[in-house]
Structures are given as C-alpha cells and as structure tokens.
C-alpha cells in the first residue's frame, strides 16, 4: 500500500515544474518553430501565412546575416579565449594565500552580477570618443594624437565590445577554476617536489590535468552564454556601425524586437540554436571518454 503511493510522490513533486516547463519553454519552442515557417510580421499582420522554407532560404541572401556569421565566430572565440587565459591567471593568483584574499575574491566577482545595462553604459562612457577616459589617457600618454571613436568605427566596434565581454566573464572563469585548484590533493605536489620538479613542470604535469575537466565544462558554458548574449551588443552599438558588430543572436533579437518580423526573427533564432546544438554534439563526442573515467 505504502509502496504503491510512494511511486506517485516524485510525479506530484515534479508536476508544477513540469507544467511550467511545458507551458513557458516547450510550447514556446514549438511555437517558434511554427512561426519560422510563416510570413509573420506584426506590421503586416493580416497577410500572415504559411510559406514553408522560404524564411530559411531567404536569410542567406541577407547581408546582415552573412556578416553576422563571421562576427559571431570572432565574438565567441576571442572572448572565451581571453576569459579563459585571464581567468586561469586570476585563479592561480587567488589560490596563493595573501592578506585580504577573501575581499579580493568577492570584489572580482562583481561583474558577474552587474546588470547588463549597467555594464553597457559604463563601457560606452569609457569608450566615448570625445570625453571618454580611455582616449584621454591614451592622448596624455602620447600614444594617440586624437581620440578614436571606439564604438563608432567599424574597425574597433566589435573588438571594443569583446574587451567588455572579457571583463564581464573573467570572474566566473576564475572562480570555477579556483574551486578546481583547491581540491587538488597537496601530496601530488609534494611527490613532484621530491622528484625535483620545478614550478613550470608542476603546472604542466599536475595542475593542468587536474583542472582540465573544469576548464572544458566552463568553456562550454561560456561559449553558449557568449553566443546567446545580446544585451551588451544591443545596448552598446546595436550591431553597428554598418553590420560590423552584428552577431547571429543579436540579429534574431533585432528582427523580432525592432522590425517586428516574427517569422524571420524565429528563423534566425532557430539557426542559432541549431549551430549551438551542433557544437554541443561535437563537444560531447570529444569529451565523453574523459568524463566517466
């Protein structure tokens, strides 16, 4: 009797979450797929109709979308690489004991919880062409003759925003790697020291292999996160000047939010999701062996 009723307990516990997930996640995803096969513009609502694969084909003629593909690769690869390198450095530094380590650790985590709007505004002001502190410093150091409009030039806009994004994600990387560093058994290092290993050798042969699973997981999380991020780009340049800082996620958002073209907006969002699923499939294939060992 008791056993039988116990079988329903997990179902009852899961029911509210399941209902919400189906209602606000699964159903909208299905709806997005259906929207992507329609001509569906809020500005031309009466003419909405099923158009088959037309959105999926037409998008390859779109200049902004084509430009966004290359930008997205740069945006994700450069951002995550620098986040990893600087995050690893910061984690190693925070792993050595010094006075005020706790405070330093809390402070460095701040960008992680700072609102995206605040991040964008802070950096827009720093990058300001005429009165921004960055230009003022570079001019007074004699590195520049006149200020560069960092976000207003198609040569620098994307890279300037990559710096902002590195700044935003560095702490998360550092804290994940730090947690992994702290669980490395210290006898591994002692054994290495007895056999005469130097700091560099200890790093390569002990530290790195031990923290590798964390690095791989965190990289994957960050790649997806940076790929999906729209807020910073949308608020700092909106993809401009031209399409020089347009990414796939950003163009999907702009299509839906500004042009009110829900059909194409959904199509691009689905392309973006498919790119990420393909990426994750490859990632899982390469890491599966290591994970269960």
């Amino acid at each position: 009797m008791r056993k039988k009723s116990d079988r329903y307990v997990p179902l009852i516990l899961l029911a509210p979450a399941l209902l919400l997930v189906v209602g606000v996640i699964i159903y909208p995803i299905c709806h997005a797929i259906s929207l992507s096969f329609q001509y569906y513009k809020l500005t031309d609502f009466a003419n909405r109709r099923f158009v088959g694969l037309q959105n999926y084909v037409a998008i390859w003629q779109n200049e902004a979308f084509i430009a966004s593909l290359g930008n997205t690769v740069k945006w994700v690869v450069i951002t995550v690489s620098f986040q990893l390198l600087l995050g690893l450095g910061l984690a190693m530094l925070l792993n050595t004991p010094f006075h005020g380590r706790g405070i330093v650790r809390s402070i460095t985590l701040m960008p992680w919880v700072t609102p995206g709007v605040v991040i964008a505004l802070m950096w827009v002001w720093i990058y300001n062409g005429n009165f921004g502190i960055l230009n003022k410093c570079l001019i007074s150091l004699g590195l520049l003759d006149q200020g560069i409009p960092w976000l207003g030039s198609d040569k620098t806009a994307l890279y300037s925003q990559i710096v902002t994004m590195v700044w935003q994600g560095l702490p998360f990387f550092a804290i994940m790697i730090l947690a992994a560093l702290q669980v490395i058994p210290s006898d591994l290092y002692e054994a290495a020291e007895i056999s005469g290993a130097g700091s560099w050798q200890k790093f390569i042969y002990i530290t790195l292999p031990q923290i590798m699973p964390t690095i791989v997981t965190t990289c994957m999380l960050r790649i997806i996160w940076v790929f999906n991020n729209v807020e910073v780009l949308y608020l700092m340049t909106g993809g401009g000047p031209g399409h020089s800082s347009m990414t796939v996620s950003l163009i999907a958002y702009i299509r839906a939010q500004k042009s009110l073209d829900f059909g194409q907006g959904s199509t691009i969002a689905i392309y973006g999701t498919l790119f990420m699923i393909a990426f994750m499939a490859i990632y899982l294939k390469f890491t599966r062996g290591g994970d269960y060992e």
Binding site: P16, I25, T108, V113, P115, V117, V183, L235, A252, G272
Partner: protein, 276 residues
C-alpha cells in the same frame, strides 16, 4: 633568501593588482562620474577626482525621473519570480535528488539543455501568447517569461544542494511516520535554507537585471529598472553624470545582496561542475 621572497611577492602582487584594476576600474570611474558636476565631465583635460563633488545627480535621478517607480516595479517582479521559482524548483529538485523514476537522467540533462537555449527563441512565441492573453504590459508577463531561465537553473542548483544534505534525517523522520509534506517542511526546508536563500537571491538578481524580455513585454507606465536606466540615455542625452548615478543606483542593491550570499552560491555552483 629574503630577496627571493620579496621577488616572489612582487610576482604575485603585480599581476594581481593589474587584474584587480581592470575589474574595478569601470565601477570606480562610473561612481566618480556620478558625483561630478556636469561641467567637469565635458573637458578635454583629465581630472580623475571631482573638484566639487555633488549628490545633485542622484536627487535629479530620484525626484525628476521615473527611476524610483521603476525600482519598485523591479523589486516586485524580481521578488515574485524568486518566490515562485523557489517553491516549484525545490519540489522538483527534491524529486531529482531523492527518488529514482523512469526517465530521470534524460529529464535532468534535458533541464540543463533548456537552460542553454537562447532567449531570443522564446521572445516571439511568448509575445504572441501574451498578446492573446492580454498580458502585455502586466507584471505577470515578465514573471512568466523569467521562469524560462530561472526554473531550469534553480532545479539544477537546488538538486546539488539537496544531495549535500544527509539522507539519514529524512529516513528517521519516515520511520517516525512523517508524511512527505511534513518531511519537506520540517526536515528538508530548514537544512536547505542556505541553499534556498542563495538560489533565490541569484534568481532575484537575474530578474532584476533582465533587459531584453522587459523591453518587449512592458509599456511605458510599468517599465522595470533596466529599461528606465537605458532610456535615460535618450531622455538625458549626453548627461553622463545622471546616467552614471542611475548605473550606480541600479547596481548597489544587487551587489550587496550578492556579497551576502556569495559564499553559499559559489559553493553550490562549483560543487555541481567540479565533481562532474
């Protein structure tokens, strides 16, 4: 020997200070901008510190704009999202942590997968549905849409917290004849409190910060804090002193909240990923 020690210290402190400066600089600069009078901003010479510090920008912000009203709106929406997510997710997390049922591994990895889906995928279908339900402009639209990212994340995090609670207490409770609701309320909830507070705060912070859904689902009367902050740029064009004051005011509450729970939150997050 002493010189070597000093050298070691320099090797530690030099890059550390550079990195900390990089992380802290935007905050410091924004704060300094926010307490400067307008005419000190638009000069070509560098003056790091304000010559005549003022709080006028903050009073303009709170008394002459809708900033404060949108702050209240944000508190209300973030708190509601947080409560709903915690109740729903902790129940589901308990099922995942303590019971075996068919499809559990698929459900668990499916939840993580859902968390990875881009927000812009939900945007259009949710708009169409909210429009049909006449919810555009109501706080409910934001609370519901925030559940798309808060629920998967909270379930995942709370599952790892519950797994960290020793099961023996629940077993002895069961022997004493406690029902499942009693177990949850009297035994699990008190032990889960630090985890619930950390997760709830994180959900609160994320809802407070959210901008992209809010642009789409609010009207000018009930906009949330990030929206009214972003719109300061257009309304007070080139008044970076007021915009900076807004940035500081929008950030201070969440940074304080985060500092209070960060130890528990980081422990929960890293436990999930480091162990596998």
């Amino acid at each position: 020997m002493k010189r070597k020690k000093q050298l070691r210290k320099a090797i530690l402190y030099l890059p550390l200070s550079v990195l900390i400066c990089f992380v802290m600089f935007p905050y410091i600069w924004t704060f300094l901008t926010s307490i400067k009078p307008t005419d000190e901003l638009y000069t070509t010479s560098i003056k790091i510190l304000p010559q005549a510090a003022t709080l006028e920008n903050y009073s303009t912000l709170f008394f002459n704009t809708d900033f404060f009203a949108s702050m209240l709106q944000s508190i209300w929406i973030a708190a509601t999202t947080s409560c709903i997510s915690m109740v729903v997710s902790s129940m589901a997390a308990y099922a995942f942590a303590r019971y075996d049922f068919p499809g559990k591994p698929i459900a668990l990895s499916g939840i993580l997968l859902l968390y990875m889906f881009p927000g812009c995928l939900y945007l259009t279908p949710l708009f169409v549905s909210f429009n049909k339900l006449k919810l555009i402009g109501s706080p409910a639209a934001l609370v519901i849409s925030y559940c798309t990212f808060t629920i998967p994340f909270s379930i995942w995090l709370l599952t790892s917290y519950i797994k960290g609670i020793p099961i023996e207490l629940e077993e002895s409770g069961k022997i004493d004849g406690a029902s499942v609701p009693q177990l949850l309320y009297f035994i699990v909830a008190p032990l889960l409190k630090p985890g619930l507070i950390a997760t709830g705060t994180y959900v609160f912070i994320n809802s407070w910060n959210e901008y992209l859904f809010a642009v789409m689902f609010t009207t000018s009367e009930n906009r949330t804090l990030p929206i009214s902050l972003a719109s300061l740029v257009g309304e007070y064009d080139l008044r970076w002193d007021i915009i900076s004051a807004g940035a500081v005011a929008a950030m201070v509450p969440v940074v304080i909240m985060f500092m209070l729970v960060q130890k528990n939150l980081v422990a929960g997050l890293t436990a999930g990923s480091v162990k596998g």
